[in-house]
Amino acid sequence: MASWGRPENSRLIGKRVQRLSGADKATGKAKYTFDINRPGLLYGHILRSSVAHATITHIDLSAAEALPGVKAAIPLIEPGKRVRFEGQEIAAVAATTDDIARDALRLIQVDYDELDYVVDMEDAKEAGAPQIRDDWEGNQSEPRVDERGDLEAGFAEAAVEVEATYHAPVQTHVCLETHGNVAEWDGDNLTVWASTQAVFGTRQNLARHFELPENQVRVITEHMGGGFGSKFGPGVEGVTVAKLARITGAPVKLMLTRKDEHLVGGNRPSMTQTVRAGAAQDGRFVAYDMSGYGTGGIGSGAGFTGPYVYHVPNYRTEKSAVAINAGSARAMRAPGHPQGAFAMDSLMDELAEKLNIDPLEFRRINGDSDARRDRIRQAEYTLGAQEIGWHRRNRVPGSGTGVKKRGIGVGCGLWGGGGGPGTEARVTIHASGAVEATTGTQDIGTGIRTVIAMIVAEELGLRPQDITVKVGDTAPGLPSRGSGGSQTIGSVAPVIKTAAMAAKRKLFAHIAPMVEADPGNLRAVGGRIRTESDLRMSISWKEATGYLGMETISEGGEWDENLRVGDTAGVQFADVEVDTETGLVKVIKIVAVQDCGLVVNRLTTESQINGAVIMGLGYALLEERIMDDQTGKMINANLEDYKVPGTMEIPEIVSIAYDTDRKITGIGEPPTIPTAGAIANAVYNAIGVRIRELPITPDKVLNALG
């Protein structure tokens, strides 16, 4: 049975290895979809609805078509149909330059018959609000009710109760490379350079749309500038660019603008939940009654977790989604979890305070609902508490003196991320000594390319840079899953590992007779092949592969469940300073203790944890899609008023990879979950006033302080 072996036997696994694409990225050589310049390239842009809700009565493309340089102008909605949010696609153009394409959009005449709209969740729930979805009655989905235990009995047992309403805003992904594609036809063959998290998913989608066999569509994603869950299919823009390319007979690039990206590139749904909860005198969490909803815009889903992490024996939850006239939600880094975690961890602290129990102790008492996670989590509490200096927190929240008050808080998260079957990969050894690892995953910035090289190199006794990793292309016909759900490494690594093992076995079998050794006795170490028993027998890797002559070894692998693990636990601690005169919250330090399974590349794992924490910090303190009632528009669809963390917001981040398992798991999402809850609790600990609404901006802090 395959295993990752013992740590002391690993040369590469678990070490800090530089990203293979690092130099290309740092020199500007790396080509992203946005950078693909094909001969004869045209530029596409999409005209979007400037209103939140209307029936389109007429679209006149003639003036746009007549503009010199415009090669195609097509409608994307039929007159008579409704647009349901600002940003919905109306028409598209392709032109010889980007500027001309933008000019052309301004020449398109659209007649809107405006309809009532609603962009506020509370208004949308009211009777008589404009109907947004045809498949719903009203704008609220049928609530989903979950029950467990005996809620009445739970409350009867409760010594203290908390009732509170928590709110988290809509967050947008803000991928720095906007969604988009370059499409080029050669007869009935379509090649698409896509900024996507799923080359195979995108291929399937496009093939279906254009009624082509899948092997006539090739999707390439060499480098990708951020997805965070929002880039799994071609989207309207992907289908549109392929249409434009077909009509014009030329390659067309269509990348969304920053404003488009905010409006249609997806978002994390908001959450408003009201919860009544009770705990017994001995600290047991005994009852949880929650009802909540969120908006995914015109989308149907707005789920969030709750109860979360902790063991809650008796609960009742009622969750629903509310539709508004705004762009649809998409999966976003740990969908549903950060909003749920923020509310749950705030609630935990509120209960603990009523019980007069240390909030960490209260969490320990009400351990994780899962036994394995609980074991890890309890250890993580200890590690993190020590690193942050938990004893320094204010026993009495807000009791610090001075204008700037410090506070410490804790938050938790859990995630699946084990990966699954469905990846095909090949490891190829050439007589020249060159080694290739090929699979249909894509490196969206997570570093999977480097991890693949490390695994193969570990197996073959080579260096990571000796391995050519080919990912992000459907052409080799080796499918893999989309890079989402922190599933990539768990899905890919086992297949790569077993493929490398198979290729090595084959190589050993081939050369064993030449070197008069038993293949079972051969080892690949330090760029050489040698026998275990007789250390004198040692040939270089190149000499060994030279024996292949005209042959090439190319072996596939198999997914092996025993090489990966899911269900991870994470704990974070935040140390903040609140300026009580300005309301500014400065995060001083975050300690992220994250169950990481087996760490393959410690360097890029730390990068992932840092990045996830920073996105969580933005969620806690800055980010919010702001919809304007008077105009139905997202009023901050830029990077000035939609505020993401910059250098000045960055605290000291101590990431502790808790890696006791020798099995691989994904780490892209879990560390973004606990951050907002930890920060919110730290703010409370600093000022003694609870802010139940994200983001925690100066206006809220000052208003709370009164």
Binding site: Q18, G22, A23, D24, K25, A26, T27, G28, A30, K31, Y32, F34, D35, N37, Y43, S50, V51, L67, D98, D99, I100, R106, L107, Q109, Y112, E114, D116, Y117, V119, D120, A129, P130, C175, L176, E177, H223, G225, G226, R258, I444, G445, L603, T604, E606, S607, N610, G611, A612, V613, I614, M615, Q630, N638, L639, E640, V644, G646, T647, M648, I650
Partner: protein, 216 residues
Amino acid sequence: MSKEKEKDQTQGTSISRRSFLKGVGTGAVAASVAPSVLIDAETAAEAQMGEEITRAKIKLDINDKAYEVEVESRTTLLSVLRDGFDTSGNRVDLTGAKPICERGECGGCTVQVDGKAVYSCMTLALDAQGKQITTVEGLADGDQLHPVQEAFVQHDALMCGFCTPGFVVAAKSFLDQNPSPSHEEIKEGLAGNICRCGTYPFIFEAVKTASRKMGG
């Protein structure tokens, strides 16, 4: 809010929502389609004072190489770098600088102009004439990476890497001005760049390492 409420608020006003919408789509693009005044490179280089230019052939000095490109007045330096052609029809193809916001809000398009970091999306190509432009592609010496680039790779100060060229140029310019900065100064010096993947902590380390390597 409903359209009814909206109407109440704008009552007595001459502008209805409908008409302000109309005001949008109809904007004349006369300037961009009008026959353009073409002047050749020599005259453009020292365009007559007071002369109106809507389109011109200009010379740009990019990474110590002279490019002759034809631009409109509105053409940004970023668009010349990424999408421009020289007058012999070759693509400039310097796609390192990225269009991320195109409004001066993210730093993805940072290049050096006469040694200073600027946003190329907020710089007109015409205004870059006669200046030394350095892009991320111009920093390495052949295969030898610039110390800043080396340090970015070493510290994994890049994930998806889309913001990286902008950060590298910003960091290089910053170290040119301040060779041995403190942690806080590094943060302030790079405050004009955004990274959504959150590579900041390692960027700070990389800048410190580069500073040491460069003898700062």
